[in-house]
Symmetry: C2
Subunit: 223 residues, 2 copies
């Protein structure tokens, strides 16, 4: 637990635990408990809380405590609407830019081909697995070249991962995503930006539709 700063280590640890669902929505995060558990003092915990609060992964109430943020269909839809907007705009910018640099996007896509589906129980591996797919979208936004938007998208990405971890952790789905991603990148490389945008929009919206039915219906994909 001594990489860079204790605060950073605590931050990344907590972030991953929330995204993976080990720390559940609404759950109280006790400063003292975490401090003893992680063998650090409360200072770094509190500093990490302030960052997570800004990321909206936790919510703090003065003198009441800090809690893992709630999930909801409304929030989920907000996230995906934001995602659609950002990614479509990214493609729009790629269209206008003279020298588009897609090697990072291509690299992210490559890392998802034939990626083995992690065994149940290995949370860390699951996280890495889902992050690999998520990374394609991130690199796409990053390629647009707007640093502000990129940073925002990273936070959005973490929340998306959280919902995916809850509802969309299924082999077939990621396999399908991989195919779609390849198609999107090919269209962009071929200069078919509008087609790429439309395909991406469909890719996102069909996923949302699927997830929505799961969120409303019985919860059998949470483990």
């Amino acid at each position: 637990m001594e990489v860079l700063s204790v605060t950073t280590a605590v931050l990344e640890y907590l972030r991953d635990r929330i995204i993976s669902g080990e720390l559940k929505a609404g759950q109280r995060l006790s400063e003292a408990e975490l401090a003893t558990s992680l063998e650090v003092s409360r200072g770094p915990i509190r500093e990490a809380f302030r960052v997570l609060e800004k990321e909206q992964l936790v919510v703090s109430f003065p003198r009441r405590g800090t809690f893992v943020s709630e999930v909801s269909v409304e929030d989920f839809l907000d996230l995906y609407q934001a995602r659609e907007m950002l990614e479509c705009y990214a493609i729009e910018l790629l269209k206008e830019s003279e020298k588009r640099e897609l090697s990072e996007v291509e690299g992210a896509l490559d890392k998802t081909v034939d990626l083995p589906f992690p065994p149940p129980g290995d949370t860390e591996a699951k996280l890495k697995y889902l992050r690999a797919f998520s990374n394609f979208h991130f690199k796409l936004v990053e390629a647009a070249g707007n640093k502000r938007v990129t940073k925002f998208y990273r936070d959005i990405s973490n929340h998306l991962l959280r919902y995916q971890f809850m509802y969309a952790y299924i082999p077939g789905l990621t396999k399908n995503s991989q195919k779609d991603h390849t198609q999107i990148l090919n269209l962009i490389k071929a200069g078919e930006y509008d087609k790429a945008k439309e395909f991406l929009r469909v890719h996102i919206r069909s996923f949302v539709k699927l997830m929505k039915s799961w969120m409303f219906g019985p919860r059998e994909n949470q483990g």
Copy 2:
């Protein structure tokens, strides 16, 4: 200095000092110095730093210190690109939504009519003045109803204010903005969404063009 929590008070104080330019880009922010100056301990200062760091108003280097973030033309252009995207998308969403609620936008606009130009030297008044105009755009984005995007826009807004404070604090300019804002709202209310979007785009881009020339050229509008 005892409103809610000390951390919050410190946070808001520092944020305003950075936006107003009293704390200059690149300037080091000493924890001990601020602590004695504000008559608090270093704990809340550090917590506020973590939030400001996430807002990109400061940059922290481990064991080196915390510094007011730099400004640049590139960053400025990123911000305005993000702004254009978000606000245009907001109008797009208003177009699609059945019951658009524009009373907040209208309220924000009303507060800018005949707003007296603050006397030089009164930084707090200057901030309030510029925020009033900025608020129109914020309420417009908020009206779109996406909470995630709204929170992101608030951070963007603060940075925009910072650049405006540096380069665009001029009576005629805000007067002109007020006229444009009225026009935009009228077009939206009339259901002319595409026209509103195009007008907004021009409003933003002409402002960027003006600012860019000032940022590259001699700096005579900084006081």
